[in-house]
């Protein structure tokens, strides 16, 4: 790395539940001995790839993701004229990202989801006729991959100087047996979850850009989970913002 690395930030955060409930099962311990509502420490660093217009690296526990952004540049495919810019997203896994080799099949869907989560936040009309490419590579998959990819990609877009309404932060919640909600599940928890809720939002504008739910949820549970996610998103965005600020102040010093 030729450029001076931006300062490393490792912070853990946890949403504050609005209604303090008594924990029904205190005997349950999470695999990495976190609290139910405690997220994994988030580490972000911008300018991770020199060749790209903007890039970011994110590490949430064992989940490690690198995203590079290229453009705005000429659309590769000779497509029809468009007075708004295009966003092209691609998510891929390294061969060694998972314990079992090969995870090709999933990526098309993840790419689609990443695109949907980001497109609402970007001012596409600021780069007409051109394309911005977002390439995300999951170096190691440790659970909750997509939200990490989304957060990291929005940071990379900001690093590339693409105009956005706000940073996009993503958080997911898993509902485990006995109706326990755990935030930011690791792979082990994800594989045994009864349901999951993934939410990406723009915290300053208070807008949800993407939301997916699987499994059976009652309204009360759903509302609790959404509140948790929204709160965690705003805290995550603060960390992301401070990472950008630090990188900028470092650049100004030089």
């Amino acid at each position: 790395m030729t450029s001076k690395p931006s300062p490393a930030i490792t912070t853990t955060y946890s949403p504050t539940p609005s209604s303090k409930k008594t924990r029904p099962d205190v005997d349950w311990v999470r695999p990495d001995s976190r609290g139910f509502h405690q997220c994994r420490p988030a580490f972000f660093r911008t300018a991770a790839v020199n060749a790209a217009a903007g890039s970011a690296y994110a590490e949430f526990g064992n989940t490690k993701v690198i995203v590079s952004v290229f453009g705005p540049r000429e659309s590769k495919k000779a497509m029809m004229y468009s007075d708004v810019g295009r966003l092209n997203c691609n998510v891929s896994y390294t061969k060694f990202a998972t314990p079992v080799r090969n995870q090709e099949a999933d990526c098309k869907e993840l790419s689609l989801m990443l695109h949907k989560a980001l497109e609402g936040a970007i001012l596409l009309e600021t780069f007409p006729k051109t394309t911005v490419d977002v390439f995300a590579l999951v170096l190691e998959s440790g659970g909750t991959d997509l939200p990490v990819v989304v957060s990291c990609a929005s940071l990379a877009l900001a690093d590339a100087g693409i105009m956005m309404y706000d940073l996009v932060a993503g958080v997911s919640v898993a509902s485990l047996s006995k109706k326990n909600l755990v935030i930011d599940p690791v792979q082990e928890e994800e594989s045994s979850q009864d349901g999951s809720l993934m939410l990406t939002c723009m915290p300053s504008r208070y807008k949800v850009t993407q939301l997916t739910i699987t499994g059976e949820w009652s309204s009360a549970n759903l509302n609790e989970a959404m509140e948790l996610c929204l709160d965690a998103c705003s805290k995550l965005a603060k960390i992301m913002r401070s990472c950008l600020k630090d990188a900028a102040s470092l650049a100004a010093q030089e």
Partner: protein, 289 residues
């Protein structure tokens, strides 16, 4: 998509604001739903669903297979959606693939529940024949024949009807094999098991146009959408899955509001669909007699 002039756009939007849409419906009313079952004789179950000019076919095929090592007590279900070029010229060649992928992922999310299998519309444990050895693999193939918006809701309704129409042959394990040996099976030609579809949810897509949201949008209305949320609700009124489509951000309170609206509407849709399915089934039964 649909090419609309500015005037047409204003007309549609204005109508929605005043709670009367171009075809005379209210914001929260559906187009008439027609259900026909048993349309594909080779399949174990099939149905055709028509909502206005949207028409889809779903078929269920059951094949004997081996359960996966991770879940020895569960059968497997795979959902595929194909968008025929017949419905829309842009689906020609590989043109429909992206939409097909989006729809099949959304359907899987809404019907198959969490990774542990809780809250699934289809009870996977009921597909097991011999634990760890033989299970039924259900292949749900659906095809979009005519598209005029609201494909996801129509597909979910068609799958529900097709599952209600599904008869899985009774399997007798003839020789009790020991250890790892694959037991011999005897598939009955006469005895069939009816599939329990009471837990299969319905999907309700709420499309946001301006400040309001509408159900069962036509493709003209869909071309207007800033965002749409597809919510699947089961008989108990619980949410079984949710997918947001369209890029624009939504206020969290709007999302919560949409969910409660969907829960309310699901009761009506569910009972309407149930009566349509049972009517279609009764009609199919008469023909056989």
């Amino acid at each position: 998509m649909v090419g609309l002039s500015l005037g047409e756009k204003h007309f549609i939007k204005g109508g929605i604001d005043q709670n009367i849409r171009s075809d005379g419906r209210k914001r929260d009313s559906y187009r008439p739903i027609f259900v026909e079952t048993g349309v594909i004789p080779q399949a174990n179950g099939s149905a055709r669903v028509r909502m206005g000019a949207t028409e889809v076919i779903a078929s269920v095929k059951a094949e004997l297979g081996r359960p996966s090592a991770l879940h020895p007590d569960k059968g497997k279900v795979a959902i595929f959606v194909d968008c025929s070029a017949v419905a829309e010229p842009t689906f020609e060649g590989r043109g429909g693939e992206e939409l097909s992928a989006e729809l099949s992922v959304a359907l899987e999310r809404c019907l198959l529940g969490g990774t542990s299998g809780a809250g699934a519309g289809i009870d996977l444990t009921s597909l097991i024949v011999a634990e760890g050895k033989i299970c039924w693999d259900l292949y749900i193939d659906s095809l979009v024949i005519s598209s005029d918006g609201n494909l996801l809701d129509a597909l979910a309704a068609a799958i529900k009807a097709a599952l209600a129409n599904t008869a899985i042959p009774k399997v007798n394990i003839s020789a009790a094999a020991s250890g790892d040996e694959q037991p011999e099976v005897d598939i009955s030609d006469e005895e069939f098991l009816q599939f329990d579809t009471s837990a299969v949810p319905v999907i309700i897509t709420l499309t946001q146009v301006g400040r309001h949201y509408i159900v069962d949008a036509t493709s003209e209305e869909e071309s207007h959408m800033s965002s749409a949320v597809s919510i699947s609700v089961n008989r108990k009124g619980h949410i079984c899955g949710l997918t947001k489509r369209g890029g624009e951000g939504l206020d969290p309170s709007v999302v919560s509001d949409m969910i409660s609206v969907a829960q309310h509407l699901s009761e009506l849709l569910m009972s309407r669909l149930d009566s349509e399915i049972s009517a279609a089934e009764a009609e199919g039964g008469d023909e056989e007699l």
